[in-house]
Subunit: 267 residues, 2 copies
C-alpha cells in the first residue's frame, strides 16, 4: 500500500519529563493541541521502573545506559511502561479531546521485535526491531480511524515473549516504516533540554542545525559529544530512509517550529 | 449504526485461571482457536495485584469481595491488570495466530466509566459503567478490522482519572452495548468450575439451565447461593437488553457447546 499524501508527526517524549507529573501534563496538553492531521506519541520509561524495582528488592543493572532485563525486570517494566505510564498518558490525552489509544508493540501485532543475542553482553529480555518489524499497514489503519497511537517501549517477539526496547529506537523505527510506505514523516524527540547542546552546561548553546555535511566536522571538533551520538545516529537512520525532518527540542517548545536542533540530510 | 448481521462472542476469563500460567496458556489456546468471526476477551485480575500490594506494604482492603482502591492501589492494579496481565495475554494470543489488541477502557475512549460515589462505602478509585459508557461504534470498527479486543478491568472517567472496574460488569456492559447496537451477542463467563453448582462442594452438580422462570424457585430452594447472585444478575441484565445467550462454564470447556450452565430468558 502507498500513503504518498499522508503526513504523520511522530513525537517521542523522554523519561525525565515523565518523572514529573506536572511537566508531563503540560507536555500532553501541547501534544493534544498539535494541529497535525496524524500524530503518534512514543514514551520512554523514566525512573519509575527503577524505583519500583528497588522497592521489590530487584537489583537494577545498567550497561552503557541500557537496562539489563531479567525475568523479574521484564515484569516490572511491563507493569510500569505498558500499564501505569501508558494508561495514564492515554486517559489524560482522551480527557484533553485527543483520541489516544495506548499500545505496546504486541498489540494488533504492530511492532514485532527480535530478542537480542546474549553476546557480547546478555541484556536478557531486550528486543531490537528488524527492518520489517513495524506493520505500517495496520498502524496507518488506526491513523485513518482518527486515532492517535501512544506507544510504550514494550514489544514482543513472534513467540509472544515480551521484550524491553529502547523508546528512541521505536520512534525511529515507526517513523522509518511509515516513511518507507510513502508517508511524509516528521520525527520530533522531546526532552527537558532546549535541543542538542554544544556545551552540556550551557542551555543556550543549542546547535540549530546538524547535517550530514557538518556532522563529521562537529564530531571532530568535539561539539557533538558521546552522549548525543545515539540520538544523532537514530536521526540519520530515519533521514536516510526518507523521513523528512528530525527535530530534537524541549517538551515546552513542541508548538514552536523555530526552536530546537534540526537534523537534516542537507542544509 | 446498526450491526444486525454481526455475531460477536464475548468471553470473560476469571482471576483464578489467570493466577496459574499453565491454565492461562491452555485457555488462551482454546480462545485463539474459537471459530467465532468476532470475539472479545475480558480478563479479571487474579491475586497478582494483592501479592504486589503486600510486597509494597500497601494494605489490601476488600468489602463485599470488592477491592477498596486508594491512590496507591489504583497504580498497582493499573500496572498489574493493564500492564503485565493484559500484555502477556495479548502477546500470547498474537503468537497463537489470534490478532489480539489489548485495551483498557481509556484506550480509544471505548469504555468511559463514572467514579462511584463515596457513600455508603467509599471504594476510592472504583468505576461503574453507565448505560452509554461503551462506544460500540468504535468497538465494532476494531472488530471489522479483524482484531480481537482484549480488555482489562481498568477504565477512566471523562476527566482522565483511571478507575478500577469489575471485569464481570465490563463483560456484561460490552455485550449489552453491542447487542443494543444490533449485533447478535453470546456472552461466556469462564472460570475454574464446571458451571454454576447446586452444591458448591460437588463439581458434578452443575445446574444446566437457569431461566427467568426457574430462577426465583432455585433461589427459594437455596440452590442458587449468595455467591452466584452477582453473576446471575449480570447475566439477566445482559439477556434483558437483547444478548442472545449467557453461559457460565469451565475454561477447559470453552470449545464444548454442551457444557456449563446456560442462562436464558426462556427454557
Amino acid at each position: 500500500m502507498n500513503y504518498r499524501n499522508m503526513e504523520v508527526t511522530v513525537v517521542k517524549i523522554g523519561g525525565n519529563v515523565i518523572d514529573n507529573p506536572d511537566d508531563l501534563t503540560l507536555f500532553l496538553k501541547k501534544f493534544a493541541a498539535l494541529p497535525a492531521a496524524n500524530k503518534i506519541l512514543i514514551h520512554g520509561g523514566g525512573k519509575l521502573a527503577t524505583k519500583l524495582a528497588a522497592k521489590l528488592d530487584v537489583p537494577t543493572k545498567m550497561i552503557d545506559g541500557r537496562r539489563v532485563t531479567d525475568s523479574q525486570t521484564i515484569e516490572i517494566v511491563t507493569m510500569v511502561y505498558a500499564g501505569l505510564i501508558n494508561k495514564s498518558i492515554t486517559a489524560q490525552l482522551q480527557s484533553s479531546g485527543c483520541d489516544a489509544v495506548g499500545f505496546s508493540g504486541a498489540d494488533a501485532g504492530i511492532i514485532t521485535a527480535v530478542k537480542r543475542l546474549p553476546y557480547p553482553v546478555d541484556f536478557g529480555f531486550v528486543g531490537d526491531i528488524p527492518d520489517d518489524g513495524v506493520n505500517s499497514t495496520r498502524l496507518t489503519a488506526f491513523l485513518n480511524m482518527g486515532l492517535v497511537p501512544v506507544f510504550c517501549s514494550i514489544t514482543a517477539d513472534k513467540q509472544g515473549v515480551l521484550l524491553n526496547c529502547n523508546a528512541d529506537t521505536i520512534a525511529q523505527s515507526v517513523a522509518t516504516a511509515l516513511s518507507s510506505a510513502g508517508a511524509r514523516v516528521k520525527l520530533i524527540y522531546c526532552f527537558e533540554k532546549q535541543g542538542l547542546l554544544a556545551d552540556v552546561n550551557d542551555d543556550n548553546s543549542v546547535i540549530p542545525l546538524i547535517t550530514a555535511d557538518n556532522c563529521e566536522k562537529l564530531k571532530a571538533e568535539g561539539v557533538i559529544s558521546a552522549g548525543m551520538l545515539p540520538k544523532i545516529d537514530n536521526a540519520f537512520k530515519a533521514l536516510n530512509t526518507g523521513v523528512e525532518e528530525v527535530i530534537v527540542k524541549s517538551y515546552l517548545d513542541l508548538d514552536d517550529n523555530d526552536k530546537g536542533t534540526r537534523i537534516s540530510r542537507k542544509s
